[in-house]
């Protein structure tokens, strides 16, 4: 037997064995075929083994065999659905790792985040990616819905897909919102306090709903655990279920819509044929999707390595309401509506109506056309809706409609409760001990003792003076006297006291507002 086996036989036998193994793993693609795939060559066997994968492989059986060419046009879908799914996978991956380090209790949560940032290599980057991915997923899923609406891709067969999409948008928002609480910092605590207080306004069951969400009248250990479990188990499971249904509908039933012009426009037979030409998933679209994934990861890595850092404020403090409380940006529109009227009406009834309208869009809109120009009312209503959302969101920010006393506003802008602000950004060595009084101290040479002077301190002091003088002129702070006190407090620690004294315009009483800010030389300037 040995005699009859020469080298070529051996080689052939070995290749056959390997080829066989590879076919088992790839669900039907041999070595030759794989090579052809990478080179963009046509299939090497008949029947086409690339189609066989779609029946034998689990991962590919949920994908269609081909798309029609026109549905892959970038300007038609902008890949919004693809990237929403991409970010869902990013969130799952980073989230699973973050879970290893996180402790869901009020005593441990914040400390575990600090531990992650200070003691885990790539810990900060993971957190940044998770946060950035969450924001991106909200943006992409909302835009995906807007695109579907504008191209009329919710009609006919696609009505149920639209419905699951509305559900997914809701789940995405709640996923993002429930993750908001987990770091247990001031930002998280108060944003979620505002958010859940909405539930309280629900008629009849408000109190019970509030208790169910928060676990107690105020958010505490119970509420944190509920949000955590919702964030890592309930909502992801619901999302996976709905995504499966949503995608299966698209893949196996009605596929991605074609641009309306190919369905109802005046296009020639040839053009129509070209638009409906099949593009196989394997290899063309698969390659394209892998490329897009790599591109997405590349941008995520660049952004989190150099540009974006997830915010982390000071430890949550139920006793101290921050001056400027804000909901997460995707709920600003709701906060804006709350400023317009009653909590039950604006916070519960109208949002419920909005959700109901979104769900009902395919059933209200009986117009069979999909073209932009044949459905002017639907399109203009959509654009109007977006504009209203933008305006309401602006009204939801603290800049709109909330009057803060002048002195408080000035000091808050100078040295905000959270974050850095101009005062804390002054380099430590420029904080020369002294009493600096607005309109008394010359603002251009505050530190004659320093070789290079203190331009940053001077700039901040000048700005402070400007703001005070402005308020003095328009009568908000009559006879104001404003000082900036800088004292050495400990080794490497300075105390800064901006203080404004004025006589109240109504009563003539003397009033004082001051803040005590401590700055350590090792603090981070963000």
């Amino acid at each position: 037997m040995i005699k009859s086996l020469n080298f070529q036989d051996l080689r052939q036998k070995a290749m056959e064995a390997i080829d066989n193994r590879v076919r088992i793993i790839t669900a039907g693609l041999g070595l030759q075929e794989l090579r052809a795939l990478m080179r963009g060559d046509p299939p090497t066997e008949r029947p086409n083994p690339r189609y066989k994968v779609h029946t034998t492989s689990f991962l590919f059986h949920i994908r269609p065999r081909y798309y029609q060419r026109a549905s892959t046009i970038f300007a038609h879908t902008f890949h919004l659905g693809f990237f929403t799914a991409f970010f869902f996978f990013v969130e799952t991956f980073t989230g699973l790792i973050l879970m290893v380090y996180y402790v869901p209790s009020p005593e441990g949560a914040y400390a575990s985040i600090l531990e992650l940032m200070s003691n885990v290599p790539y810990g900060q980057m993971l957190r940044d990616m998770h946060r950035l991915g969450a924001e991106a997923m909200v943006i992409f899923s909302a835009l995906h819905m807007l695109r579907t609406y504008l191209t009329g891709s919710y009609k006919g067969d696609r009505t149920f897909t639209w419905l699951t999409g509305v559900g997914l948008l809701g789940i995405t928002l709640f996923l993002s919102f429930s993750g908001y609480l987990l770091p247990w910092d001031q930002l998280a605590y108060w944003a979620v306090t505002i958010g859940t207080s909405m539930a309280e306004a629900a008629p009849m069951v408000g109190n019970e709903l509030n208790l169910l969400l928060r676990g107690a009248p105020d958010i505490g250990a119970g509420g944190l655990l509920r949000f955590y479990l919702g964030h890592v188990i309930l909502l992801p499971l619901a999302a996976i279920l709905l995504i499966s249904v949503h995608y299966y509908k698209v893949a196996r039933e009605h596929s991605i819509s074609l641009p309306a012009r190919f369905e109802e426009g005046n296009v020639s037979k040839d053009e129509e044929k070209d638009a409906k030409q099949r593009i196989d998933i394997i290899p063309d679209l698969l390659t394209h999707e892998i490329f897009l994934t790599v591109l997405g990861i590349f941008f995520l890595v660049i952004a989190t390595a150099y540009f974006y850092h997830a915010p982390l404020e000071t430890h949550a403090n139920p006793q101290q309401t921050p001056l400027d409380t804000k909901a997460p940006w995707y709920f600003w529109w709701l906060q804006g509506m709350l400023k317009l009227g009653d909590k039950t009406l604006m916070g519960i009834i109208i949002p419920t109506i909005i959700v109901g309208l979104l769900v009902a869009v395919p059933y209200i809109d009986r117009n069979p056309h999909r073209s932009f120009f044949k459905r002017p009312i639907a399109v203009s209503l959509g654009i109007l809706g977006v504009l209203v959302l933008v305006v309401l969101s602006y009204m939801g920010t603290p800049e709109y409609g909330i009057a803060t006393p002048a002195a408080t506003r000035i000091l808050q802008d100078l040295a905000p409760e959270e974050g850095t602000g101009p005062l804390r950004a002054i380099p430590y060595d420029q904080l020369q001990q002294g009493v600096y009084e607005v309109n008394v101290t010359e603002a251009d040479n505050l530190c004659p003792g320093l070789d290079f002077g203190c331009p940053e301190l001077e700039a901040v002091f000048a700005e402070y003076g400007e703001r005070v003088n402005e308020a003095m002129e328009d009568g908000r702070l009559p006879d104001a006297q404003a000082v900036l006190l800088i004292e050495e407090w400990q080794a490497g620690l300075k105390k800064i006291t901006p203080r404004i004294v004025w006589s109240d315009p109504d009563t003539g009483e003397t009033k004082t507002y001051e803040r005590h800010i401590f700055l350590h030389q090792n603090r981070v300037g963000e």
């Binding site: 940032m117 200070s118 290599p121 430890h315 006793q319 009493v435 080794a491 401590f518 090792n522």
Partner: protein, 269 residues
């Protein structure tokens, strides 16, 4: 080159570039983590300073210098060198501070010098024991107190902000002078007077001149105030414990200071 080949090529380049960025980023991770820890310590000290001013400065002094007869200094050399031995604490000083702040003190360890604010001498501050502070806040406070070590051991000498000299009118006016004595002697840590101090351990002194006139038959307001400062236990107001107000004001106050502070208190109507 077809689109497929272009995407394979570009994708490969992007994978390589992303990997390189990730590896380079990894090299700076140790430095970043050290820096973050430093910044976190700095932040703890800043937060601790704010907490100290709100909760502790009334008794231990604005800069931890302590108040004679009431609460001990926390910024002096003996606190950092001798205190652990004195109380027999075997762990590090920071843990001692955390334990003391959390649990408070039932009785003073040095009653003749620092009697504390009554009973308990120092209240428990931990949320777990009925106080207002969370564990992380107490850790921040300890970080702030530990930061006095450099100045206490005189490794660092801080410049004092020159205190504004009182104006001539203030020095001429015995009420204004008395107000300064009242503040200097730490009376405000226990006694509240609107616009001057907020202490709540001893009786409120807002209308002391009227109250003092009616307290003891046959004594004028001035006599009553003078006697209460020099011999605090002579007339204890109902509801307040004995032996809380320091007994050594006859040594610590000059005749002139005593006159001034009495004049100041008589002006509180």
């Amino acid at each position: 080159m077809t689109r497929l080949q272009l995407e394979i090529a570009l994708g490969t380049i992007l994978v390589v570039v992303s990997t390189i960025i990730l590896i380079l980023f990894g090299f700076s991770e140790n430095r970043r983590m050290t820096r973050f820890e430093e910044a976190q310590q700095a932040h703890a000290i800043e937060v601790g300073a704010g907490l100290f001013e709100t909760h502790c400065s009334g008794c231990h002094g604005l800069k931890g210098e302590g108040i004679e007869g009431l609460c001990p200094p926390l910024n002096d050399r003996p606190f950092f060198t001798d205190r652990l031995e004195e109380v027999g604490w075997t762990g590090p000083l920071e843990d001692y501070i955390i334990a003391t702040v959390s649990g408070g003190r039932l009785t003073s360890t040095r009653p003749e010098h620092y009697a504390g604010q009554g009973k308990p001498a120092m209240p428990a501050w931990s949320e777990d024991l009925g106080g207002p502070l969370r564990r992380d806040q107490i850790r921040n406070l300890a970080a702030f107190i530990m930061n006095w070590e450099a100045t206490a051991l005189e490794q660092v000498v801080l410049e004092e902000l020159p205190t504004p000299t009182p104006s001539p009118e203030e020095l001429d006016d015995p009420v204004a002078r008395g107000r300064l004595v009242f503040l200097d002697m730490g009376c405000g840590a226990c006694h509240a007077i609107d616009g001057v101090s907020t202490g709540a351990v001893g009786p409120n002194l807002n209308q002391i001149s009227e109250v003092a006139a009616t307290r003891v038959e046959g004594m004028t307001a001035e006599e009553y105030i003078r006697e209460s400062i020099l011999m605090p236990n002579a007339h204890i107001v109902e509801g307040f414990p004995e032996n809380v107000m320091p007994l050594n004001f006859d040594e610590r106050l000059s005749q002139e200071q005593l006159d001034d502070v009495v004049t100041f208190l008589l002006a509180q109507q």
